[in-house]
Assembly symmetry: C2
Homo-oligomer: 197 residues x 2
């Protein structure tokens, strides 16, 4: 009875509320799943940012032009590469977005229709942002791991092992965040679909 | 009158068909836009694949270990880099997907509801695929353009100018394809939303 009241408050014509009852139950189930996935998304994106931010590693490396027994400390950190800087910006933004949408997800029962639409629209944009950041960081990290003989780009992961472990974990976390966003977007769309059945 | 018949055939209860009339008009407008964007998506993804496939360039370059006046022909082509191979696979798949969905888009009036849902669900997946491919190829291409002094990866675009122009154009086309897919996904979602107003 309470749920019927809420539906009526959300400007649904009273004559439709009886028809929508099974849909409302399905909607509640999807909304709980939506909330859980958004909390996971927050965890994944914040972890990805933290793991990449703490990737700095300093090693003694030989310098070309000097004798090979003379080694100089050189650092590898994420802001050596524009791809990793973009990655940090994208994943931080996703973390912020996931906080906002988690809070909005709690209030989804109150004015569900418009929030579901906003979720479905913005989730797609963030799928694009997270996927492109994952691709860019992954593409550069792969060169770091394997190098590229054709253009004589040497691999660096044999020297900067900790750095590469952090970058790899961070890319894996953002891949997970991207998959979560795809599912979240699908859930929002599917809930909208359920309403018109 | 004809559109009302089609709606009734698509298992919509007869009592709702009158209510859905303005929504049906809006749906027809969005469907036309959907079709045009899908044709554009096909053009963009096929162009991106063709432009990258034709990027091969052979130049005479000095080889380390030999005297600098001795130059050897070296080719740059997209399958030197795993990121570009992934890009080709992803954009080819998107081209195939856009052919299928363009054909399905023409028949959208017949059984609109389920096709709209499929479009909305799969478009999101392809947003992820195209965005990650664009990110990966863009990230590697940027190293080719500017190099990275921190890890001594030399830029190659000063030598392989035609190759880099092709790669750059191809990445720009796939970025365009990604934006198209975001809009397509939003249109599908928004059309679903219009149905429940």
């Amino acid at each position: 009875m309470e749920s019927t009241d809420k539906r009526t408050a959300a400007s649904t014509p009273a004559s439709e509320s009886a028809l929508l009852h099974p849909a409302a139950a399905a909607s509640a189930k999807y909304s709980a799943l939506d909330f859980v996935l958004r909390v996971l998304l927050l965890a994944a994106s914040v972890s990805a940012v933290v793991v990449m931010a703490t990737s700095k590693q300093t090693e003694m490396v030989p310098v070309p032009g000097l004798p090979p027994n003379i080694r100089v400390p050189f650092s590898a950190e994420f802001n050596d590469s524009p791809a990793f800087i973009y990655f940090m910006a994208a994943l931080s933004l996703t973390g912020l977005y996931s906080i906002i949408t988690t809070l909005a997800s709690i209030s989804v029962f109150r004015k569900a229709k418009s929030i579901l639409l906003l979720f479905a629209l913005f989730d797609v944009v963030f799928v694009g942002i997270v996927a492109s950041a994952t691709g860019a960081a992954g593409g550069v990290a792969y060169i770091g791991l394997r190098g590229n003989d054709h253009v004589r780009w040497n691999k660096i992961c044999n020297v900067y092992d900790k750095f590469c472990r952090h970058i790899g974990s961070s890319v894996a976390l953002s891949l997970f965040a991207g998959v979560l966003l795809v599912f979240l977007s699908m859930i929002s769309t599917f809930t909208l679909y359920k309403r018109i059945r």
